[in-house]
Subunit: 208 residues, 2 copies
């Protein structure tokens, strides 16, 4: 028995009355996690918000958990060390799982550099409940964009543990979707994912 | 500048395209936290799930964060020491805030024994975004019910830091609602809260 198991041993699971299935029926689409991973500046948040906007206009129920906005709140106590990144992704995974239970199409936009962490999130949920989207863009291109000026700071040694510079990024081995943001624009990447959602029955093809 | 501020100093806020207001318009009701507090066995989860069921049947978009189910996931690393209880409530507060952003009526059922922690959650959100429901029931009645057998264990010294026995419960001073679960049944308590939501315009009076 792990320490966590012991700590939780006096906890009883309450079966909710209003279930995920009931919510999905009402919403007219499935709950699912769309997990964007990729380098800083690769366009994860940009594509995620474009996709969310498109899904919302179709009547879907969506929410985007963003590396930047979650880090102001739930994970405001965490930094960017390897250990804190692991805990950050664990919390986002657990939170995403709850949003899926709530029947939402849950978009997450985090660098999530470590394969093992992303695999752990996948293991948290049922098969088919997580769509990994590798937002692929070369380090050179991300650094050239440097929208937030972070690469410059990282190169100057002002930001420790910066993914791609002083901390590794492990590419996904079998992501459901790869969007190449240095070859295609935001709208094209967004439509590529939308098509996947329609073809695989996550949302209806005639709107929702 | 606190340590947390420093850690978050390279974080940029992304304005979401699909906003809370857009979701609320679509859903036909407001996003709000309904925060149940009270002793173990007072009926927080029971009343919350009855209320959720009723709201769902009216077409509202709801989710219940439960002391028991959150503690299996997001807060699975936390125990029941005072320090861990504080962190537990902080995370639930931050998560609830995100659910409200997602346009959901977010019910939380946690003992949340410390006034200061509940006040912190209230400060996280805009005025009117949190409805505190004191699920009031005497310790004697809760202990007589002892649905989960926890009071017996606590009296036997098998559970440290048990609220009401070996850890304090601080009653709310100005809760929006008090439901007396040792005087009224679940349905009456649920309807009392539902009436509050209707009268105060959180949900429409003619269903949603």
């Amino acid at each position: 028995m792990s320490d966590t198991d012991m700590k939780s041993s006096n906890v009883v699971w309450h079966a909710p009355v209003t279930t995920r299935e009931a919510r999905e029926r009402r919403n007219g689409h499935k709950g699912v996690i769309i997990w964007f991973t990729g380098l800083s500046g690769a366009g994860k948040s940009t594509v995620a918000h474009a996709l969310e906007d498109s899904l919302h206009s179709m009547g879907c129920h969506t929410f985007t958990l963003d590396g930047d906005n979650v880090r102001h709140g739930l994970c405001g106590d965490l930094g960017f060390s390897d250990e804190d990144r692991v805990e950050n992704i664990r919390r986002v995974g657990e939170m995403s799982k709850l949003f899926v239970e709530a029947g939402m199409i849950t978009l997450t936009a985090f660098i999530s550099p470590f394969r093992s962490d992303r695999d752990k999130v996948r293991e948290l949920v049922a098969e088919g409940d997580l769509i990994e989207v590798y937002t692929r863009c070369s380090l050179e291109e991300c650094e050239a964009r440097d929208v937030k000026g972070l690469y410059k700071k990282a190169r100057a040694g002002e930001i420790p543990h910066f993914t791609g510079i002083s901390s590794p990024y492990e590419e996904p081995e079998n992501p459901e979707i790869v969007v190449d943001t240095d070859k295609h624009d935001v709208d094209e990447c967004m439509k590529q994912i939308l098509t996947y959602l329609k073809v695989n029955g996550f949302v209806n093809t005639n709107g929702v």
